[in-house]
Amino acid sequence: MKTWHTNRRCQYSWGRASVSPLRGYRHTGYKGIVILNKATGFSQSALAGRLNRLIDFAPVLIALLLALIVASVLLVALNANPLEAYDFMLKGAVGSENATAETLVKATPILFVGIGITIAFRGGMINIGGEGQMIAGALAGVTIALVLGEARVPAEMAKAPGAFDLIIVACSLLGGFLVGALYGGLAGFLKAYFDVNEILSTIMLNQIAVQMMNFLLNGILLDPAEAGFNNIPKTARLVSAAQLPRLSLPIGDPYLFARTRLHWGLIIAIVLAVVIYIFLWRTSWGYRIRAVGENQRASSYAGINVRRQMMFSMFLAGGFAGLAGVVQVLGLQYRLQTDGSPAGFTGAAGFNGIVAALFGGLNPIGAIPAAAFFGGLLVGAQKMQRELGVPASLITAVNGLIVVFVVSSEIFILQRSKRRVSLQETPENLDEAQGTS
């Protein structure tokens, strides 16, 4: 009896059939929908399905509109003309070839983190540890790149330089992913086996990672050329073989973006976004993660190992944040450096990734435009600061508002799906816990 209730509760609570964890869980998500829809006599026409997709993004649009209004009020209060400010932001973000490239460069780590956050949030794990996981990944990646870069010289003598270059980059990326994943997985482990709130543990792990980075950059990872000087803590520069190549598009002459800092990290991130979309919605692995995120008790009744899924989603989330860190080193800075402040290396991408993930409707594909948008906001805000003297920290405040507005407007979706359900029959206990623990 109890199982039956839980069963239908989770099936109705979000109004999106694709998230129901039961019955269909051994199949892919898609088959699950069909089975569940047949079972309930609730069939979705293609049009209605598309409409629902659109409505999924409604909170995002509401949030954007509200944030725009509040930002305008703030700008007026700061004696700036909002229209002028937005104009400068737009020009700063996409006004020129270089501006657009900078926007995409800024968007790249946000997209990596955003993909990871999407996985974690879909799995019901509120991962605030993007910053720390980025640092963990970057530390591992830069160490591998530096060590293999040294080893490259004898390898060149063995007459296979090209292949070895690829191995250096691949190993660094993989190492960054794995160490970031372990760092994120640690929080998942603590949650699964010791019931430590993952929000708190990831925040603490962020601080620990920053200190660890400062320690290593002032110690064994310090650029030998810098030793003895009291400069910015940074590693040696990577050899060119260990760098991700710059990216240009074969349009015009010279090629588009040929003279900018845009690098291949962007392509890797976009490809992985698609891969993770397929993973989450077309494989049973992804299905289990989402099932646990929707309803832990129902998932465990259905035979899913909830603890393992918790760790797995945090592992993947940490891995993507780790990739963000290592790509930042291999593609952009060519060394790991910081100013000692918490966001000195990451540029707060670990937090902005959360905003982008929510803004992308917790969908990896949606995270692509969302990350580009926030990259543009950050780059545009710098232009606005130069031209109007309005501090760029306005964007941090606006990002916070967007987060609040996105999660606040979800209630309208919930109400809508409830109305839809109540047309059919009224199940009990619709107030499914949407809490974190």
Binding site: M212, T396, G435
Partner: protein, 316 residues
């Protein structure tokens, strides 16, 4: 380097001082969580309280429009009001709009972080100091050796914070309001059936939490450090949330956790001062590592308010 060099009276004294913002913020968070609201925006509220309190004092003192004590009281009032407003906003989002509390709290944090920095850069520019709450001189007591330095050499807000511990415990455990808070956090359906207005109680506790967070911020900017800079709190609000878990949602143990944490912090500072052979990064890291370990061993699931993070909806 002997132990007597590390465990000096001044370390104990600074541990008591450092505990002040944690106690304020964590007590406020205790009220909110006992009623079922996880307010993760504490750090943002602290930052806003710290900045606005500091700014009020700064303007009043630079303009010399009022006496110094009056300017400090004004600063406190402003911090309390700003904290209350942010608490109300958090309550609106998590009680009325039923938003996911873990995530919306991060939004509130980012908002406070960004806005306090924005206003600081716009209105103040460079870090400036104010004359904050002076240390209170107790007749005779302050002159006592060791005891005087540890206990009777602090500013007013330190004593207010410690006085709030028994007051909070009393309110939670011995008053009707406290009973309503606990009922709403433990079993909102039953509380509702008994005629308790669940939403109103949660609004009240979250607003109290916001006020105390504002006060916690002000205790930094106009009583302990006496200046404001961007990200002044450096995540202390999150530690305060962790302390509530660590302290099992009870004011006394929460305050004890705050003392333990600030003692580790004071030790860490002292180790830096005497130049011990420990990398400073590990010393700074230590409190966070200890917090995680403490959460592993101290989280008692059965003591957590059952309805924590769960919005209440009446069954129709």
């Amino acid at each position: 380097m002997g132990l007597d060099e590390i465990f000096t009276a001044s370390v104990f004294a600074s541990a008591i001082r450092l505990a002040t913002p944690y106690i304020f913020a964590a007590l406020g968070e205790t009220f909110a969580q006992r009623s079922g609201v996880l307010n993760l925006g504490v750090d943002g509220m602290m930052l806003m309280g710290a900045f606005t309190g500091f700014y009020a004092v700064h303007v009043a003192q630079v303009g010399a429009v009022m006496s110094e004590p009056a300017s400090l009281i004004l600063g406190l009032a402003v911090a309390l009001i700003v904290g209350a407003l942010m608490g109300l906003a958090m309550a609106f989002v998590s009680v009325t709009l039923k938003a996911k509390q873990g995530i919306s709290g991060i939004g509130v944090y980012l908002f406070g972080l960004g806005l306090s920095e924005l206003l600081f850069q716009e209105w103040v520019g460079t870090p400036k100091s104010v004359s904050g709450f002076p240390r209170i001189e107790f007749p005779l007591l302050t002159d006592l050796p060791i005891i005087g330095e540890i206990f009777f050499n602090h500013n007013l807000l330190v004593y207010v914070a410690f006085a709030l511990v028994p007051i909070s415990a009393y309110v939670l455990n011995n008053t009707t309001f406290g009973l309503m808070i606990r009922a709403v956090g433990q079993n909102p359906e039953a509380a509702d059936a008994m005629g308790v207005n669940v939403a109103r109680v949660r609004y009240a506790t979250t607003t109290i939490g916001g006020m105390l967070a504002g006060l916690a911020g002000a205790s930094l900017s106009i009583a302990l450090i006496n200046l404001f800079q961007q990200n002044l709190t450096a995540g202390q609000g999150f530690i305060a949330v962790a302390l509530v878990y660590f302290g099992g949602w009870r004011p006394w143990t929460v305050a004890a956790g705050a003392m333990l944490f600030s003692f580790v912090n004071a030790l860490q500072l002292q180790i830096k001062v005497i130049g011990a052979d420990i990398p400073s990064e590990f010393a700074v890291m230590a409190p966070y590592v200890i917090t995680i370990i403490a959460l592993v061993f101290a989280t008692k699931r059965h003591e957590q308010p059952t309805a924590l993070t769960k919005p209440y909806e009446r069954g129709e």
